[in-house]
């Protein structure tokens, strides 16, 4: 039994990783503050309202995180045009022929947990697999919905042109009742996504051993030697580099 050789491949570039963690942080903060806004805890305080601004602070954090969430998303969209092949918008196209093949493969092997008789190296995705990319499209649409409804609720309390761009939202849904309801329900979408997403990352790390979890920190995944074609200008390591 021979062990495999792997090469380290930079899959997630730095901007992608930064996006990922900023996004994670924002979503966590938005969910947390969102729950508080929806159903604030009873606080025991003798303070006069003048001297207390706790709920205002919670809302302030929600709105600050919302802005960061929004701009972060825009930067990611920009990066999908200039980043590497794994960051590209093309990596999210769900149903090209190749991706459709991969989609069925992932459904069979990772969702329904069937074992394959023959392994085809090409079936192992280096970036997103096709099912995952579909889930990111769903997440993106969810973020869009959340931004539209969130800024829609926010618009009337602001004088800045950016949130004011969303004044059409509330009339479109017939009023703030519906907008808040949608905003709240969509939050659960983020929670469901997070549950499944985190599980699947661990799942892939555990079952494939290619550094799935750490890839979003360092950016590298381990790819089988055979898949990295040697070119003349190879990624040669000089002896002085401490790195292996």
């Amino acid at each position: 039994m021979k062990t495999r050789s792997f090469k380290r491949v930079l899959v997630w570039e730095l901007p992608v990783r930064v996006f990922h963690w900023v996004n994670t942080l924002c979503v966590l903060v938005l969910i947390l503050t969102g729950f508080i806004i929806a159903d604030p805890p009873a606080i025991l305080s003798n303070a006069e309202a003048t001297n207390l601004h706790s709920f205002g602070v919670v809302r302030f954090i929600h709105f600050t995180a919302a802005y960061i969430f929004f701009f972060n998303m825009i930067l990611r969209i920009y990066w999908s045009f200039v980043g590497n092949r794994f960051a590209s918008w093309k990596a999210f196209l769900p149903f090209t022929k190749k991706r459709w093949h991969n989609f069925k493969h992932v459904l069979k092997v990772d969702v329904l947990l069937k074992n394959e008789k023959e392994h085809d190296l090409k079936d192992i995705s280096i970036g997103h697999n096709s099912v995952a990319s579909l889930s990111y499209i769903a997440l993106f649409l969810l973020a869009l919905l959340q931004i539209i409804t969130g800024f829609g609720l926010y618009a009337d309390t602001s004088t800045w042109w950016l949130p004011r761009l969303f004044t059409w939202v509330s009339p479109l849904f017939g009023g703030d009742f519906a907008v808040r309801q949608i905003h709240h329900i969509a939050m659960w979408g983020f929670i469901f996504f997070t549950l499944v997403h985190v599980y699947l990352v661990f799942y892939h790390d555990w079952l494939e051993g290619r550094g799935e979890v750490s890839s979003m920190f360092g950016g590298y995944k381990f790819v089988r030697d055979e898949r990295v074609v040697s070119k003349e200008k190879d990624a040669t390591v000089t002896a002085t580099e401490a790195d292996t």
């Binding site: 039994m1 303070a47 709920f55 205002g56 074992n115 009337d156 009023g175 929670i191």
Partner: protein, 374 residues
């Protein structure tokens, strides 16, 4: 009610005839301009318009409604509103207030509609039931639907009073048995001012009427057709309890100390944060109070479908289709629990189904560990 002779009077002439002094009249012009959200420099323009404009004929139809809009209107703060705008000058036809009745009244209405074709203002109070061919609401033997379509044809503009006419209100609450329909969904080719509220504030109604008659055009409307002067702010944004909201100080129940101390009513279901209206500024009953000031949360009566967005006394709205008392969070928790269960099952199944693969990789890893050179 008015006769043809009176029609040629200006508003000012009628007001004077009623025994009001010029001073009263100017006070009224100032007061109404302030409610309309106009600058003080425009007071003169309001006064001038009322002096020179011949009265606009108004037909006021009542369909599926409770008359709370009329009640609110006639209690509007300033006596001139009731005396002049409503009682003496404007209304050519309104079932609840006019002296005439029966064929006589219908005849008067038709006379107005013919004579002032394209000029009169049509006010509608109540929704129109479209179900059963409109037969749920008949007046003088004709359905509300027919009456509305006929009266709308020659109107210059339509004012949809109250939540019934602008949103459907309680009659349109699920399951809406009569298919109660707001005016803008029936009449498409006329300018319509929507004045939601159950009822709308009397001063708001007076302000809108005066705006229309004084300036000869509609007030500035928002995207939902509501006058911006009165509906561009949430009750929450002008609520005097707002500092408690920002402080996070909430009444937990209606009888706790927090409620007695006047804390924010958010957690006992106040819908002020989603409700666009002027209650916090203009208030009710001649500026005496408004629901929140009286200790009751806003129920959102000027918002679309406020009956279906209950409960009134809870912060979170029920989710339709998930049974009584289930809001987004109760459904969300159950779904998240099911999802977590599913994930756990999948994780166990994965370890069983892929055991060979896992075992092989683990043993290869172990061998490599043993073979480490130092």
């Amino acid at each position: 009610m008015s006769t043809k002779k009176e029609v040629k009077e200006t508003y000012y002439e009628s007001i004077r005839k009623q025994g009001y002094s010029r001073r009263d009249f100017m006070k009224f012009a100032t007061y109404i301009a302030a409610y309309m959200g106009l600058e003080s420099s425009l007071v003169a323009q309001v006064a001038k318009s009322l002096e020179t404009t011949f009265r606009l004929p108004v037909i006021w139809e009542h369909f599926q409604e409770c008359t709370c809009c009329s009640e609110s209107f006639i209690r509007s703060d300033h006596p001139i509103v009731a005396d002049i705008i409503l009682d003496k000058i404007s209304l050519d036809y309104t079932l609840t207030l006019m002296a005439a009745s029966g064929h006589q009244a219908e005849a008067a209405k038709h006379a107005t509609m013919e004579k002032y074709n394209g000029e009169y203002i049509l006010c509608v109070e109540g929704s129109v039931p479209m179900g059963a061919d409109g037969n749920y609401c008949c007046i003088g033997g004709r359905s509300a639907k027919d009456i509305l379509i006929e009266a709308a044809a020659g109107a210059k503009a339509i004012i949809a009073w109250g939540s019934c006419a602008s949103n459907g209100c309680v009659q349109a609450a699920k399951p809406n048995p009569t298919d109660a329909t707001p005016i803008h969904k029936i009449i498409k080719n006329k300018p319509i001012i929507r004045v939601p509220g159950c009822p709308p504030i009397g001063e708001v109604m007076a302000g809108i009427i005066v705006h229309v008659v004084a300036f000869g055009r509609l007030p500035e409307l928002d995207r939902l057709g509501r006058p911006k002067a009165f509906y561009s702010k949430r009750v929450h944004d002008s609520c005097y309890r707002r500092p408690y909201y920002d402080a996070g100080l909430f009444a937990e129940t209606f009888d706790d100390q927090n409620a007695k101390d006047g804390y924010c009513l958010y957690k006992v279901g106040c819908k002020g944060p989603m409700t666009y209206n002027s209650c916090g500024t203009i208030k009710w009953n001649n500026g005496v109070s408004y629901p929140i000031q009286s200790g009751h949360g806003c129920i959102g009566c000027s918002e679309e479908e406020f009956w279906d967005n209950g409960p009134f006394y809870e912060r979170l709205t029920n989710l339709p289709g998930f049974g009584i008392e289930s809001n987004a969070d109760t459904v969300g928790k159950v779904a998240a629990g099911a999802l977590a269960g599913g994930i756990a099952v999948h994780a166990v199944a994965a370890n069983i189904a892929k055991r060979k693969q896992l075992k092989s990789r683990t043993s290869r890893g172990k061998i490599n560990e043993e073979n480490l050179s130092h």
